[in-house]
């Protein structure tokens, strides 16, 4: 298991316990009592460490190579996922997976960014950074969902839209803008869940909906901490500071009124138990979908509009500070 820097004390203690256990089983000395004591200490240490994660720790967690991806969650959350391909104009972008599935017996459309799980897959999927055709595939299938009155579930996990020559030539800006625009007006419920990194416009292009949830250790930001540090302080090495200043964690976004609910993670991060993590997502997804399906489509669009209209912090002279 790949460990992160801030988890080092936990790892060391775990190793020690394993060592003692091994020793007990192979020698005559009984250390059961000591082991029990250490295990208690481990529990407390884990609690301390995982309950006081800094924004930078969470960034590391969100980027963990073993973190479950869209396809992992799809396999646990949905029955009979049927992947559909292509934007009907240029190609099929593997950085976004999309298709139809059943969720608790009900037809839904599922769309998400897809990272690769190894280098080879990452190259095929351009590290989960979509080109315009990826967003246009997503939009095509969202429109299809609208036609057949299926709710849409979007899983967000991208560093951002792909910054490349071809992407610009084919209208990266327009593709992102179009998705935002159209998603604002879709007549079916849309639930968006940030499962890893929510990187800028590339994330938002699958992120306009009726509910926005974030996994506890996911991030959502206008720019990566490294990018922000380079831009603001001309030093990408200050990424750790930028992660704090930019307010990019799930609790930050909850406080800013952008995220509706935080989905708790398995202790130590989603990658420790992706099946259990899917269950935790399920617990939030199910009631949210049920509630949204009670709302008629006009009110749904109206409420979605109001949700985004409220976001922002500015001062209006006549009414005083507004948050």
């Amino acid at each position: 298991m790949t460990g992160l820097e801030f988890e080092k004390p936990v790892r060391e203690l775990q190793e020690k316990i394993a060592e003692l256990k091994n020793f007990t089983s192979t020698s005559d000395v009984d250390l059961t009592e000591e082991i029990a004591k250490l295990e208690l200490r481990l529990k407390k240490l884990e609690e301390d460490i995982y309950n006081s994660m800094t924004p930078w720790d969470r960034v590391q967690m969100a980027r963990h190579p073993n973190r479950p991806t869209t396809l992992d969650y799809i396999s646990y959350l949905f029955e009979d996922f049927f992947e559909l391909h292509g934007d009907r104009a240029f190609g099929d972008d593997k950085a976004i997976v999309a298709g139809v599935a059943k969720y608790r017996g009900q037809p839904v459309t599922v769309i998400g960014h897809q990272r690769g799980r190894d280098t080879k897959e990452n190259i095929q999927r351009t590290f989960g950074m979509p080109h315009p055709e990826g967003y246009r595939k997503a939009l095509r299938l969202m429109k299809q969902a609208e036609k057949f009155n299926r709710p849409i579930i979007c899983l967000i996990d991208t560093k951002g839209a792909y910054p490349g020559k071809a992407a610009e030539e084919r209208g990266q800006s327009e593709a992102i803008a179009r998705n935002i625009f159209e998603m604002a007006g879709l007549t079916v419920p849309i639930i968006c869940i940030v499962i890893g990194e929510g990187g800028s416009g590339g994330a938002l292009a699958l992120g306009v909906g009726d509910r926005l949830f974030m996994l506890e250790n996911s991030t959502y930001s206008v720019i990566s901490p490294e990018g922000a540090a380079a831009l603001l302080w001309k030093d990408a090495g200050l990424a750790k500071r930028a992660a704090e200043t930019m307010k990019i964690t799930a609790p930050d976004l909850r406080a800013l009124g952008i995220v509706d609910e935080i989905i708790p993670e398995v202790r130590g991060g989603a990658h420790r138990d992706s099946k259990r993590q899917a269950e935790l997502i399920d617990e939030v997804l199910e009631p949210a979908l049920k509630n949204l399906q009670l709302i008629d489509s006009d009110s749904l669009i109206e409420q979605r509009y109001e949700k985004y209209k409220r976001i922002g912090g500015y001062i209006e002279d006549t009414t005083g500070p507004k948050e």
Binding site: E174, A177, G185, V208, A228
Partner: protein, 291 residues
């Protein structure tokens, strides 16, 4: 020194004096009276340049324009009624030094934020307008910019009039973090609302229109235009070059390049801007209006 060189006559070292003009001195030949084109280096009278709509007489370079200069250039005299001038910047993330930067730009530009919105008329035809101004924080979009544009679109809906925006922006306002990202969704949703009610939307991208602004309302007009030479794109040139590890063509992400790629309806010279907008307002007035 080698011995054989000892008797070679050394040339006396000439000391050369050269004055390196400061960047400011290079740009402005006598401050205010004359201007030097940053592209072709032609020297012109400022008055002459103003009369030519801030377009270089020599090479056609389109100088960036202040919001108020555009209002003067395009709208019927006295027709403009500004909206939401009372909205001003907060520091929602408690970002260090942000208030000072805003205060400095307010002083420098005389603007309260990077966009001026309102209702006005072109040749007697009314529309709601938004003019972004890159002299204020590079025209970047924070909460105030997003809110002002959204309210101007709402005013267009209320009055059943078209919405015309001139964009000029480096993208999202870093100091407002994810709140500025969400302004893309807010404005995008407002555009959708106006569009669904049959309202006409025209976007004119001016130099520069990049990042989050290019990836939201700037690209969402029924008509998307650009001024000649304007830089328009999503990702920055340097980031793309680092990603694809090759040099990009000189004209990459210019208005003309995007026109070739099929991303724009037209590149409009400033001289024809008013006439073309007036024509569109005319055909949409006489055309079908679903409302």
């Amino acid at each position: 020194m080698a011995i054989k060189n000892m008797f070679v006559k050394q040339k006396p070292k000439k000391i050369k004096y050269a004055t390196i003009p400061s960047a400011a001195a290079k740009q402005d030949v006598p401050e205010g009276i004359m201007q030097k084109c940053p592209k072709c280096k032609k020297i012109m009278y400022t008055k002459e340049l103003q009369k030519n709509l801030h377009v270089c007489i020599g090479c056609g370079y389109h100088y960036p324009m202040k919001a108020h200069e555009r209002i003067e250039m395009l709208l019927d005299e006295g027709s403009f009624r500004e909206l939401d001038a009372s909205l001003s910047t907060a520091n929602p993330l408690q970002f260090p030094d942000y208030e000072e930067k805003i205060a400095a730009d307010r002083k420098k530009t005389g603007l309260n934020e990077a966009v001026v919105t309102g209702v006005g008329a072109i040749d007697g035809r009314r529309a709601a307008f938004a003019f972004m101004d890159s002299s204020f924080r590079m025209g970047s979009m924070g909460s105030v910019v997003g809110e002002k544009i959204t309210r101007a679109v709402e005013e267009a809906i209320r009055l059943h009039i078209p919405f015309i925006i001139f964009t000029a922006s480096g993208g999202a306002r870093m100091q407002e973090g994810v709140l500025s990202l969400m302004q893309m969704a807010k404005t995008g949703a407002a555009f959708k609302r106006l569009s669904d009610r049959g309202g006409l939307i025209v976007s004119v991208m001016t130099h520069p229109t990049t990042g989050g602004v290019s990836a939201s309302f700037a690209s969402l007009g029924d008509y998307n235009f650009a001024e000649p030479g304007a830089l328009i794109g999503f990702a920055g040139r340097r980031i793309i070059e680092q990603t694809i590890r090759e040099k990009l063509p000189e004209d990459f992400q210019t208005a003309e390049f995007l026109l070739q790629c099929g991303q724009l309806d037209a590149v409009l010279h400033r001289k024809e801007m008013k006439e073309k907008l007036s024509f569109l307002l005319d055909i949409h007035e006489t055309g079908g209006d679903r409302r």
